[in-house]
C-alpha cells in the first residue's frame, strides 16, 4: 500500500523546554483512516498540525504526499502540502465575514485559480452532500455548531484534497450535534478518503478507524487495530485512559 504520511523521529520542543513530540514515527497509508487518541497534553494535536506545517519540527523528517519536511521549515514545500491536504479544526474556524458559499470557494478560486462557476457548483454539491445546501447564502454566525463544522468539512473537500486532517472536530459541539458531524465523516471514510482524526469518540474509532494510535507525553505508546485496542489494549497507560473514557 502506498503511504501518504511517513513521519520519522519527529521531535518538537516548545519554548520553555516542554517536549511536545518525542521521537514520534508514524505511517499512514492511502485510503486509511487513522484515529489518534490520548489524554490532553499528550501531543496528539501538535502531531497532526505538523502534518500540514502549522507547527514546525525540531528534528526528524515528515514526508507528506511525497514532499519532505524537516527542521528547516521550507515555506514553499509547506505551501505545496497545504494545497493537497485539508484540515478541520475543533473551533471550526470559518471566516465570519464571508458567506458560507464564499467560505468554501475562496481557496479554490484564489489558490487553485479555478473557474468561479465551476467551484460554486461544486460547493453546492458538497453542501448538499453534507445536508446543508439551504444555508449556502447565510453567514457562519447564523448556523449551529454542527452545521458550521459540516461547512468546514465541505470547505476542506472543495480543495479536492488527497488527505484530510481532523483536529478534535466534535469536541466543541453540543452533544446532540455530534452525530451529524460524525455521520458526515463516516460518509467520507466510506468513500475512501484518507483521514487522520484526533478524537475522543470511541464509537467512531471502532466503527471507522483502520488503526488507532495512542499517544501520551509526546510519545506514541501503542498502534493497533481498533478491535484489539478497545478490547485488550497492550499498554498499561492505554488501559487506564480507556477506563476513564468508558
Amino acid at each position: 500500500m502506498k503511504s501518504v504520511i511517513k513521519a520519522k523521529g519527529v521531535v518538537k520542543t516548545f519554548q520553555g523546554g516542554k517536549k511536545a513530540l518525542d521521537e514520534v514515527s508514524l505511517e499512514v497509508g492511502k485510503g486509511e483512516v487513522t484515529v489518534i487518541m490520548g489524554p490532553s497534553g499528550s501531543g496528539k494535536s501538535t502531531l497532526i498540525r505538523t502534518f500540514n506545517g502549522l507547527e514546525s519540527i525540531d528534528e526528524g523528517i515528515i514526508e507528506v504526499l511525497g514532499v519532505e519536511l524537516d527542521s528547516y521549515h521550507d515555506e514553499r514545500k509547506v505551501m505545496r502540502i497545504r494545497r493537497r491536504v485539508g484540515m478541520v479544526f475543533q473551533q471550526f474556524n470559518l471566516f465570519p465575514h464571508l458567506s458560507i458559499i464564499d467560505n468554501i470557494t475562496i481557496a479554490p478560486i484564489k489558490v487553485q485559480k479555478r473557474n468561479k462557476e465551476e467551484v460554486a457548483s461544486k460547493a453546492f454539491q458538497l453542501l448538499a452532500q453534507m445536508g446543508i445546501a439551504e444555508h449556502a447564502m447565510k453567514f457562519p454566525s447564523q448556523l449551529s455548531g454542527g452545521e458550521q463544522q459540516r461547512v468546514a468539512i465541505a470547505r476542506a473537500l472543495a480543495m479536492e484534497p488527497e488527505l484530510i486532517l481532523f483536529d478534535e472536530p466534535t469536541s466543541a459541539l453540543d452533544p446532540e450535534r455530534v452525530k451529524e458531524v460524525l455521520d458526515a465523516m463516516k460518509q467520507l471514510a466510506n468513500n475512501g478518503m484518507t483521514m487522520v482524526v484526533v478524537t475522543h469518540e470511541i464509537g467512531f474509532a471502532r466503527e471507522v478507524a483502520d488503526k488507532v494510535v495512542f499517544m501520551d507525553e509526546g510519545k506514541i505508546v501503542e498502534i493497533s487495530a481498533p478491535e484489539d485496542f478497545f478490547s485488550h489494549a497492550q499498554n498499561e497507560r492505554s488501559r487506564r485512559f480507556l477506563n476513564q473514557m468508558m
Binding site: M87, N93, P96, I106, V111
Partner: protein, 296 residues
C-alpha cells in the same frame, strides 16, 4: 408631596453648573466693559491687510479677514487630508510589518514605533523643517530629471510647486500619526482569532492573500474606531503648523487676533472651524464603518 431624591440632586447640580457659568459669564462681561474689548464680528468684513504665502484659492491682502480665515481653513484641510492618506498607508505597512516573519522588517517597524511615539511632535516638526528641509541646497536638486526638483524653498513634482513648510508639516504629521496608526493596526490584527490564521494557512492561502481576504476584513471593526481617533488627533495636531510657518487656520487666527485684538471672537471662530473639521472626519468614518459592517 414627595419629590424624588434623584430629581432634587439634578436640580442642585443644574443650579451649581448654571451658577458657575453665570459667574464666569458675569466676570467676562465686567472685564470686557472694563478693558473696552467688547464682542462683535463686524471686523470680519474689514480688509485683512496681510498676505499669505500659501493660498489654494485666490487671495490678496485687501480681501476680508473672513476670507483670509477661510483660506487658512482650506490650508488646514489640505494638509490634514494628505497626511491622513499617507499616514494610513504608512501605518498599515508598519503595523502589518510588525507581524512579519522577516526579523529585520519586524525590528525596523518596532524601532520606528518605539522611537517616534516617545518624542514630542513639535520637536519632530522643528527637526523636519529646520534641519531636514531648510538644509537642502538653495539651487534645486534634480535627482530624476525635470520631474522632481528639490530645494530649500519648494518641492516641485511634475510641475506642481509645494512649499517646504507644507512638506515639513506633511512629513512630520505623517510619520508621527503613522506610528500611532501602526499600533492601531497591530492591535486590530491581534484581535483576530489565531484560528483564522491557521485556517487560511491550512487552505493553502499564502500570507499576502490571507491578510487581504481573511485577516484585514475581520480586523476592520476593531481598527476603524482607533483610526477615527487617530484622524481626529491628526487634525488637532495640524495646528502645530504655526511652528513651521505654514498658514493653517490656527496661524491665520493667531495673526488676526494680534492685528485686531479680537481674542474671544477669534477663539470662537477657531473652535467653530474645528467643529466642522471634526464633523467631517467622524462623519466620513461613520459612513466607512457602515460600509464595512454591511460587507460583513
Amino acid at each position: 408631596m414627595r419629590i424624588p431624591k434623584s430629581f432634587l440632586y439634578q436640580l442642585i447640580i443644574a443650579f451649581i453648573i448654571s451658577c458657575i457659568l453665570g459667574v464666569l459669564f458675569n466676570n467676562l462681561i465686567v472685564n470686557l466693559i472694563r478693558t473696552g474689548i467688547g464682542i462683535n464680528f463686524k471686523w470680519l468684513m474689514r480688509p485683512a491687510g496681510f498676505a499669505l504665502a500659501e493660498t489654494s484659492l485666490p487671495y490678496k491682502p485687501s480681501d476680508t479677514y473672513a476670507w483670509a480665515l477661510f483660506i487658512g481653513w482650506i490650508n488646514s484641510l489640505k494638509v490634514i487630508l494628505f497626511s491622513l492618506i499617507l499616514a494610513t498607508l504608512l501605518g498599515i505597512i508598519a503595523g502589518t510589518a510588525r507581524s512579519s516573519s522577516n526579523l529585520l522588517v519586524k525590528s525596523i517597524s518596532s524601532l520606528y514605533v518605539a522611537l517616534i511615539r516617545q518624542i514630542p511632535l513639535l520637536l519632530q516638526l522643528f527637526f523636519w523643517y529646520f534641519v531636514a528641509f531648510l538644509s537642502l541646497p538653495n539651487t534645486p536638486l534634480e535627482p530624476i530629471g525635470k520631474l522632481l526638483s528639490l530645494s530649500n524653498q519648494s518641492l516641485r513634482i511634475a510641475g506642481v510647486n509645494i512649499s517646504v513648510e507644507f512638506c515639513a508639516l506633511l512629513i512630520g504629521l505623517t510619520i508621527f500619526t503613522g506610528a500611532s496608526i501602526a499600533e492601531v493596526v497591530r492591535g486590530g490584527l491581534n484581535s483576530v482569532n489565531r484560528g483564522q490564521w491557521e485556517s487560511f494557512r491550512s487552505l493553502g492561502l499564502n500570507e499576502r492573500l490571507g491578510l487581504i481576504h481573511i485577516i484585514i476584513p475581520q480586523s476592520l471593526p476593531a481598527i476603524i474606531p482607533g483610526l477615527t481617533s487617530q484622524y481626529l488627533n491628526l487634525a488637532k495636531n495640524s495646528t502645530l503648523a504655526i511652528a513651521v510657518g505654514y498658514a493653517d487656520i490656527y496661524a491665520v487666527s493667531d495673526t488676526t487676533i494680534t492685528q485686531t485684538g479680537r481674542a474671544i471672537e477669534g477663539f470662537i471662530i477657531l473652535l467653530a472651524s474645528f467643529l466642522v473639521l471634526n464633523l467631517l472626519i467622524t462623519g466620513s468614518m461613520n459612513i466607512l464603518n457602515k460600509l464595512v459592517m454591511r460587507i460583513k
